[in-house]
């Protein structure tokens, strides 16, 4: 007996085989057609979304989550706009990254190709449905989407519109497949579908991500957890430090590249900590510090050990005072999640050492951690920010959704 999920897997695999032969022009036409259908289907999508909203309200969903779930005409137009923007991006597929002649005359090239079938497991943000499709489709992949059960009606309506857009361009509708059975069991089955799914990308909270990492036999790309630090070095421009810290903490609190913890060299702590405290008070940020930090301001409460490892995603920040550059690096490498880390310094050697020694996707000198983002890095839309080291690290744009194959041109070569 072939299960529901295996059927989806096998349909996606077949569709992905077709997609490897699409030209960039075909893919761009597909994206524009889908964008058009999303706009055409606005009313249906809104009606279906309303069902999800009502059910969520009845289940007592919190307003912040309700807001993520809710679609509006504007949000649907933004989805369509997102797809049009992806159509404009360069197509990475087909690029030959290198090609060499071997002594025996073999010509060996390394060509960028689609991954095949991408699985995305996410929570109740229906806009991910269109975004993830757009990025996977532009790179010649099929996508299997498993969104939260709270958003199932919205997701079905969006996927229906996407399929309609594909159909009108005579492209396989199996390039997007929604797991409509949102039973918990289907997620676990999806995580074991390594014969069909080439990579699984979880998008959501830490709980979702660790469950996927623990259970999946499909290769996973971990995304999104950011316990980001800013280290104010002995040689920092203190005014710059305060401006950057304010930005990194308060410009948007609930995002993965927001700053969650400060590390301050003790030689500048007495001067800079009160400046930081005053600035962050403007944004109602609660500050938790180690023993030394607390001695520099009455507005700092004592941090517990678990504070150092916490991604608050909220108006809270921790402060640790260290007696050396080395201690700062040690602290950050112990507690960071491999996302974005910054040093504020005017010292040449420390700037370079920080970039060498800190183990993270993005290591900044004298800039806000908030820049770790596909658009800010110039890649365009992203499917997530990878915090692991294999395959892709940092913002994952189109290239992260490709792999390569070796293409070898011979004329009868055999191995001696």
């Amino acid at each position: 007996m072939v299960s529901y999920m295996e059927t989806l897997g096998s349909r996606a695999k077949a569709a992905s085989r077709e997609a490897v032969t699409f030209t960039t022009e075909e893919k761009n036409r597909g994206l524009l057609s889908v964008a058009e259908e999303l706009c055409q289907n606005t009313n249906t999508i809104l009606l279906e979304n309303e069902k999800d909203i009502q059910a969520a309200e009845e289940n007592g969903m919190k307003s912040a989550l309700l807001d993520r779930l809710r679609l509006t005409k504007q949000r649907i137009q933004d989805m369509a706009k997102g797809l049009k923007e992806i159509a404009v991006l360069d197509d990475p597929v087909g690029e030959v990254l290198s090609m060499k002649n071997r002594p025996n005359g073999l010509r060996i090239g390394k060509r960028r190709v689609p991954i095949g079938v991408v699985g995305v497991i996410y929570e109740s943000r229906p806009n991910v449905t269109a975004d993830a499709f757009g990025l996977c489709f532009k790179t010649g992949n099929a996508v299997i989407l498993r969104g939260g059960s709270d958003a199932i009606n919205s997701n079905k309506a969006i996927v229906h519109a996407v399929k309609e857009g594909l159909r009108k361009e005579k492209l396989s509708q199996d390039l997007i497949l929604l797991v409509e059975d949102t039973d918990r069991g289907t997620v676990y089955e999806m995580m074991k579908l390594h014969n069909y799914i080439d990579v699984l990308i979880p998008r959501g909270g830490a709980g979702l991500i660790s469950s996927v990492v623990e259970n999946s036999t499909v290769p996973v790309i971990e995304t999104g957890t950011g316990n980001c630090h800013i280290y104010v070095d002995e040689w920092a421009d203190l005014n710059m430090a305060v401006d950057i810290i304010e930005n990194a903490k308060s410009q948007r609190m609930g995002v993965c590249n927001a700053c969650e913890s400060l590390v301050i060299h003790e030689s500048v702590a007495r001067q800079v900590i009160p400046m930081i405290v005053n600035r962050l008070k403007l944004h109602q940020v609660e500050i938790r510090g180690d023993e030394k930090a607390c001695t520099f301001s009455e507005d700092i409460t004592a941090a517990e050990e678990e504070d150092w490892g916490t991604e608050y995603l909220d108006a809270v920040i921790s402060i640790r005072v260290v007696d050396s550059f080395e201690a700062a690096v040690e602290h950050i490498n112990t507690y960071n999640t491999g996302h974005s880390e910054a040093i504020i310094t005017e010292n040449y050697k420390n700037a370079l050492r920080f970039q060498d020694e800190i183990d993270a996707a993005a290591v900044y000198v004298n800039a806000s951690t908030r820049f770790t983002d596909g658009f800010e890095f110039g890649f365009g839309a992203e499917i997530g920010i990878s915090t692991q080291k294999l395959h892709a690290r940092g913002p994952m744009g189109l290239e992260a959704l490709t792999t390569y194959k070796y293409i070898i041109f011979g004329n009868g070569q055999i191995r001696e």
Copy 2:
């Protein structure tokens, strides 16, 4: 309580932090020092290996496996030579793959860096111990090695010599850590050590690899399974086809890039199948074919369904006759393991289509599949041949043991 494996993990992580700062010169000196120590310790290593051999003989180990386990003076010299060859290879670490200025003045570079801690799980080939160390060390990684229990004395002696070589160059001896407790439980614990180990590479048979894929929460790179096909197209040069098939099947039978299955276009089947059969008979190769193939030679026995998916690693090959190019692609994409696939054709369009449509790490036109190998591709020594699509595909040389980080140079930038 910190477990034995966690202690190893934490020591490896600490050593890997030191290794990111090593210069190429330091690493090359380390490799030469270790090579020297291996030679100096030849007698001890041989004595310890003899213990393993005796125990294996008492346990009735087969002679082919005994041969893999056995070390000789020559084999130890070859290990040392391998390390010297790695010293000569270009160091990929530190290369800035791209660097761009953003409109706000941020300079964002993508720099190649070590992965961190590499775990290798392998069977009873003690030479893997030195090879894996050499590749990981050259790329600034620490390595945790878990070899087969049959080789434990040999591995201890080799690791002792490696550590001695590191010590003499004042480099951390924790850059190589051997799991000395070869209890089955330590392997499973190793597979769950994702807080310390950044990537796990299993090297061995299909059973070992699938057990690691099923159980590991550490990202895994699958290696080595090769159900490789050669497709003889309607437009093939048949003499070339027979030469290449002979080479790919018989030049070395037990290796992952050997050819295991032939797909023949029916318009040339009558002519080429007897030629192939005659040539392969010279090497005592058993041939199993589908119904059509059997009609062209009495030396072909009937293949079962399971033959199409079998990597024989032996003097056996299967033959399938197809009625079109498309059917050949379909057959190969259904049964191949993503390793190496070849077409023999003089037809331009079919050659390019085959390279486009076949999903495998290495896709050949008119050459033997036996070339999929780090040395043949010009990368030097390899840590394995990846058959998955994430991170690294095909022969994995030094670059596959690196990741990248974004290094960002600012002068006070904050996000609007």
